[in-house]
Symmetry: C2
Subunit: 558 residues, 2 copies
């Protein structure tokens, strides 16, 4: 049996390695158009920033090591330029000319190409991408003589690249077309990341497009013009605005593609041709929550898809699980992570949901070094987990991994409340942040709590008594101008007073994070008031409403 | 409605707080025999060690704060000394004499008592426990004038206490009756913890009992005598040999107890009396894997049991999940964590299983600071997850939390292999250690790999060719004297030579962690040899066999 693999990174290399482990006698040839195989794609920004000092660390394998370890025939600088499905051959451009290879099984793992926005100047030599080891090496070198960098695109890799340049001491401007950094995140979670970027000197320009790049400028190699008319001088411009499946070859061969050009595969990674499998960034996968089908360019799924393609070629039948889109990025001292569906994705898919926010300590508050973790859960009206996001200096990765596992299990808020996670003071709390998220959602589903959300702020200002149940000191440091202050420990004492001030209006309670306002809400509701507690409290409110005006000073009763 | 709660920590306080949130109008009285309620039990060792400097940090609430926040009537130094179930009353010893209280619902959360071994001298003033804030405070104070401490019992709290004393500069001897520290861990995992303790100056004496304590000795307040005849001088002796349910009161009241004296409850925390609920360390719970019923004294379950008791009192019907025994401890720079069933528990329960070990990097190896994580999975012969343990400097807590969630979901090796966890170089790998564990178990179940284990070492020495496929350099630094060295990258080249040396014997392959030996095993098996790969490699072997003798130097072919 001869297996040909197109693409020598992630999905392709996983397929080749697994195929060899399963079949010692197969002939396995891997074609890689670039100079390197099996390199650490996700490590490139860290080499640019100098955290990974030697570029050799990025090269996990060479054709020689793969030959010795797995008896793979790896051909670098070999680009497959044609597939003849009837003849079961591929045409390969090699450094010595073209050559034809027969196959019994063909694995496509061509990856994705960087999107290049159609603006003037993108072909200037100062404008580059960060997709290959060569590009990383070159960028690392260029930082020595550069003063200013512009990074286009504030997705996961854009953020890592911006941080890398800051590590090298460059001034960095981060340009993002969407109105926020990290578009997969909910705006109020993204706001935390933007603050972290800004506090580390990154000039964030969100909600604006670059309209052109021209050579020269204010003591800089090039000048980037933005849609708002501002100009940004730069010595380096990195494009990181997204990728699209590299499927010209698959398309020309007549393989079924989605409308948007991703390769269609079944749950065994098989394409519309029974002799061809595909894996990685070029394929369409089904989203585990929304059911929508499209590419999800992530390393973890790519590796497992490659492994599964090999299993399928060898006659095994483990099926693909739908993809959850679990992803994470470290931005300076902060981690942001997500799994499953975001509110935006659910809106687009027309799926009902509600959201809860919590801001617990990442570990027992009484143990030194605890820090606030911002955690968001998305649930169906019946309480089934649909997605989660976390932002915080520490412990965000753990909670998202747990919730990604819970999501895969189809868990409900009840299940999440009951999860038995490892607790000792340096690691969590007896009621872990994940459990807290479950409790919150459970209380919403069964009506124990009624929440109001940031979206209802304008309505509440006009129609409700906004009751701020934080301490007098917290209130004095910044509060909604309309809010009346009554610390939650006095709520029972002044219940008649609240009724009087409410004068028949609903009461919308808030505190810092939503815990004390929940306590107060329960008291008010059981005294017959139309009460609700602000989901996520002032933490979420301030992050969700940019430029929210707060008043200071003690509460003055009318 | 009047609810009485016996015990003002963890389970009891969770019940009281939840009851109030659900019913603003109930009368809720909490009786606590000690001076403090709602204190941070799990934080006590950290106060002894000085990491939590002020003892006030351990006091999360006072009767006053609980009155203000939750309208709870908390009575400290009130010990309930009798329950009259027919009359629905309790008799309480108060500082002013006894008093009788009626109840509609009674919640028992009396906790557990420290076991005091029946040896001479345990009543000496230098001998103490670490169960209360007063004891923590006193011990913290005593460290100033003490030079040497003995900690009896190397369970979770014993380990934390030993570390606390080292932080204070004391010489510490840790005595454990079981043959290893942290008895819930498998021996090879425990060995890693013992090394960490030893390397931080703790004198570990495992497999030996203390037989007596006497006043005076070699420049010390007391002398502890051990079963092996050695004597250990000490200024402080802390007993941490375990706890037993504090259920004398429940027993006298005629509530159903298990053979071993734990309170029997149903899945709504209700005891054999329809008006009495119970939560926490005094109750028996069903283990989620073995099905065995007994006390599992852990903070997380206790808190959720208390919450559920309140829900049940209020007519809600969320059922308890069986307990998985998820637990964790930090020992100096190392974390050890466990969830589900250990091999020992499964042996006792007569449940079949197999074990796999892996030693991956806690995050991408090419990113700075990666460290080895030791991960063990226990699976049913069909591949269902039964338990997991992790030991490592970083990332052990995350993996055990993910696996505890997977365990709750009833996941198999296939499911674990497919988990989509958050990957960026600082946090994990595209194939996370958890996925690797799934791959390993999957390969065992479907026969892709055949493993041999440490238990087969003697057999292999006598009957097999032991093939060490590490590099020549690794081999030279320490290998089994019987092992023949053939680096895995040369396995195909010398396959005939291997056959010759094996001379019909089985081949038992090993490497450092089990990855390269798996590759080699696949080659050998497909060339018709009876081959198997050592689970966990030399890492696991060295940890599992104390005093294993290794030879050094290059391989000399016969």
């Amino acid at each position: 049996m001869r297996i040909l693999v197109i693409g020598g990174v992630a999905g392709g290399m996983s397929a080749a390695a697994r195929a060899r482990r399963l079949d010692e006698h197969a002939e396995i040839i891997v074609f890689e158009k670039g100079r390197y195989v099996s390199f650490a794609n996700c490590g490139l920004p860290y080499h640019v920033g100098g955290e990974i000092e030697q570029d050799s660390y990025l090269l996990l394998h060479s054709p020689e090591s793969l030959k010795a370890e797995l008896d793979l025939d790896v051909r670098i600088e070999h680009e497959v330029i044609g597939i003849d499905r009837d003849a079961q051959t591929v045409l390969v451009a090699t450094p010595e000319g073209t050559e034809t290879f027969e196959y019994d099984a063909l694995v496509l793992s061509p990856g994705a190409d960087a999107i290049v926005p159609p603006i003037p100047g993108v072909d200037l030599p100062e404008v580059t991408h960060l997709r290959t080891v060569d590009e990383a090496r070159e960028l690392a070198g260029r930082t020595a003589n550069a003063k200013r960098a512009v990074v286009m695109g504030a997705g996961f890799i854009g953020l890592e690249t911006a941080e890398a340049f800051r590590h090298r001491g460059l001034e960095v401007t981060l340009v993002e077309l969407a109105p926020q950094v990290l578009p997969p995140l909910a705006p109020e979670m993204s706001a935390l990341v933007e603050k972290e970027l800004t506090s580390h000197g990154v000039d964030v320009r969100a909600g604006v497009a670059a309209t052109g790049i021209r050579a020269g400028g204010d003591d800089a190699a090039v000048t980037v013009t933005l849609g708002d008319g501002t100009e940004v001088p730069a010595d380096i411009v990195v494009m990181s605005v997204g990728v699209r499946p590299n499927t010209a070859l698959a398309g020309e061969a007549g393989l079924e593609l989605t409308d948007r050009g991703a390769i269609v595969v079944d749950e065994f990674q098989q394409t519309s041709d029974a002799h061809i499998w595909a894996a990685g960034d070029a394929i369409a996968v089904r989203h585990g929550v929304t059911g929508q089908v499209g590419p999800v360019p992530l390393a973890g799924p790519a590796n497992r898809q490659g492994r599964r393609a090999a299993d399928s070629i060898m006659g095994r039948s483990d099926k693909a699980q739908p993809v959850l889109g679990t992803a994470i990025v470290r931005t300076f001292g902060l981690t942001a992570a997500t799994t499953g569906a975001s509110p935006r994705m659910l809106d687009q898919a027309g799926i009902e949901y509600f959201v809860v926010h919590t801001h617990p300590a990442n570990h027992a508050g009484y143990y030194p070094g605890s820090q606030v973790l911002h955690l968001m859960g998305v649930f169906s009206p019946e309480g089934k987990l649909l997605g989660a996001q976390a932002v915080g200096p520490d412990g965000a990765d753990k909670r998202i991994d747990v919730l990604a596992t819970a999501l895969r299990a189809g868990f409900s808020a009840d299940d999440i409340a009951e999860l038995e996670l490892a607790y000792a003071p340096p690691f969590g709390s007896a009621k872990d942040p994940v459990n807290m998220l479950g409790f919150l959602a459970q209380n919403v589903v069964n009506g124990t709590t009624k929440v109001w959300t940031v979206g209802e702020l304008d309505w509440a200002r006009d129609n409700a008594l906004i009751l701020d149940v934080r301490s007098e000191r917290e209130y004095a440091m910044g509060h909604l101008p309309e809010a009346v202050n009554l610390p939650h420990t006095h709520i029972r004492e002044y219940i008649e007073g609240v009724k009087q001030i409410a004068a028949g209006r609903p009461v919308r309670v808030l505190c810092a994070s939503g815990v004390r306002s929940y306590y107060a809400h329960r008291v008010l509701a059981q005294h017959g008031l139309d009460s609700a507690t602000l989901d996520g409290g002032m933490f979420t409110l301030v992050d969700a409403v940019p430029g929210l005006e707060l008043a200071t000073g003690a509460f003055q009763p009318a």
